[in-house]
Symmetry: C2
Subunit: 320 residues, 2 copies
């Protein structure tokens, strides 16, 4: 098929998929679930009435529910797609309304803190399989989602040891059918991996944009004009949703601080090389970092187009 | 015109443009000069015989010269497009062969160190107008260039006070005709502005890619797989040419160290907010950084397409 998602399933994997939170990630899940026929019925709830209205207007779900309690009734798969800090409360609210055997999952960007908040709130007769699709854009809300968001991206599952492997396999099939590659790991390891591949990069991006905004010797207008020298790359991820990212840093504190410590240590060594004009040391680092990008491109996680293909994207924009 | 560069000039601005160094920037200049008719004749020299052969094959210049001395003969505009560290030597080599009244310019990413290295080497009868087009990609070499590289980007001129304003105006016309917006400022100010908009961002990108490569708890393969969480954005600029960037850091030492000091100070404050779970402080920073990106997009220095329009670029790649 032209969108790369392949044919619609002949038999849905679930009877009713309920999504709690229908922003970028939740709405992308709704779209791909409907496009691929992953569930016979899609029910959605979001605590923002505007979002619920938009979801109706965009016809992203079969039913838009007025409450989380109602939304989960009849579901055999519930996926929590709200900010990390809201997951525990949502679990408490929906717990009494979950049918025995229901699979509860989530898409939160941190995993240990979510397990700690959600697992104890759920009844013993449901299965909790934490998940994190490593895919996104800098935009949020239901209009920003699209069905191919997860295509060729990785989704990490972090089930606790007590979960039946067959249940995990069902969640795995769901994500595979949505186009993702699935990897299973421990929640603590997930949090460490994501600290370096996502959380610290975001923190650094937010930080340099903040530093640039606070300068007295260089004006904001100069920063904007001359941003094509590299700075603008950082502003993309520093434009991500503030609530989402506040929650991530508050909930993955120790892994982020650990990775940040290493980053700062290395940066200070690099600063020392500059101060002492160690050209060879700089050249060595600048050479070895190229290999990683090559690998990321080869493994289909990045485009090889110069400048991320920005030119191409711009032309397309103008044609719209 | 379809490429956005507008009509070819009726009368060329210069008789002979000589380019010394024909990599990404030099070859893009050759392309736009020929596309727009900026000079009656384009002569090119590069100290790499392979590059010279490629420039011949791609027919980027009217003449590919076997030596810099020969290349500058007959030129009324000479632009040095070699790495920053090579500029001083090139100036010494060509100095005796420059005709009176010749304008010498460059495209180096730092300005004060280049003025110090180049100006004293040139004879009194030529005019030196240092320039820096703030445009580029992560690729290098003559095949990577394209005529629209400078279109809607800024080119900064940093003439010393002794230079005739009419001469500066001629260089300004050249860059305007190449599609760029021109700004004039002091070399020291340029170096400070670029330290924050380009040099420190590159340093940070190189650094985090290095930090990730050195981890023991997270494998390189995990870093690559899960790079779509943000990390891959940094690898683009960390794949830039090592020689070019070594030279930049060695030649803009004090401005880079100054800006890096501020960055690190801010980062440590941010780390402290995380440690003390100051959610409001984090939220505030993450909110105010969004405005800068909005401005960059509004001023035409960046695409508004989600994810830089990577998806669009990828499709194009696959069609090739
Ligand atoms: N964006 C990414 O790149 C990305 C990638 C992977 C995973 N994730 C994770 O995915 C989750 C959602 O992110 P997103 O990007 O989709 O965010 P989003 O676009 O901001 O959507 C989140 C939605 O959840 C709603 N919500 C908040 N609290 C709720 C509650 N108690 N009950 C029901 N709905 C609630 C929000 O409504 P309000 O308008 O009231 O806030 C909003 O509409 C987060 O946990 C995030 O960590 C994000
Ligand atoms: N790339 C960017 O994003 C960017 C943006 C703005 C400004 N600049 C500046 O533009 C200049 C060129 O950068 P670039 O990206 O075009 O680099 P590039 O693609 O690597 O090209 C530089 C070329 O100059 C040649 N060269 C080196 N020393 C020389 C010498 N003594 N005489 C003649 N040619 C020599 C190199 O040959 P070898 O193969 O022998 O090295 C190479 O072919 C640098 O000063 C850089 O700071 C770059």
């Amino acid at each position: 098929m032209a969108d790369g998602l392949g044919a619609r399933l002949e038999t849905p994997l679930f009877e009713q998929l309920t999504l709690i939170g229908v922003g970028l990630i939740g709405s992308s899940l709704a779209r791909v679930a409907s496009r691929k026929g992953l569930a016979r019925r899609i029910v959605a709830y979001d605590n923002d009435p505007d979002v619920r209205a938009k979801v109706e207007r965009l016809a992203l779900a079969d039913v838009v529910s007025p409450s989380p309690e109602k939304a989960v009734q009849g579901a055999d798969l519930v996926i929590l797609c709200a900010p990390v800090g809201a997951m525990g409360e949502i679990a408490k609210t929906i717990a009494p309304h979950l049918a025995p055997g229901t699979i509860v999952s989530d898409v939160g960007s941190v995993k240990e803190a979510i397990i700690e908040a959600v697992a104890p709130a759920l009844p013993g007769h449901v299965h909790f399989v934490p998940a994190h699709p490593v895919a996104g854009t800098e935009y949020s809300g239901p209009a920003a989602g699209f069905a191919t968001l997860f295509l060729n991206r990785w989704c990490i599952l972090t089930p606790t040891p007590d979960i039946d492997p067959e249940i995990v396999a069902r969640v795995e099939s769901f994500w595979s059918a949505a186009g993702a590659n699935v990897e299973i790991m421990k929640a603590t390891h997930h949090d460490l991996v994501l600290a370096i591949t996502s959380h610290v990069p975001h923190l650094i991006a937010y930080n340099i944009v903040g530093t640039a905004a606070d300068l007295e010797t260089v004006t904001q207008s100069e920063v904007i004009k001359f941003s094509a020298g590299g700075f603008r790359d950082f502003t993309r991820i520093a434009a991500s949703d503030p609530t989402m990212w506040r929650d991530i840093f508050l909930n993955n504190k120790s892994a982020v601080i650990e990775m940040l410590g290493r980053f700062t240590e290395d940066l200070i060594a690099l600063q020392r090389m500059i101060r002492h004009e160690d050209g060879d040391g700089l050249f060595k680092l600048f050479t070895r970092t190229r290999a990683i990008r090559r690998n990321i491109i080869e493994q289909g996680q990045e485009t090889a187009a110069p400048d991320f293909g920005r030119g191409v994207a711009k032309d397309t924009d103008e044609e719209r």
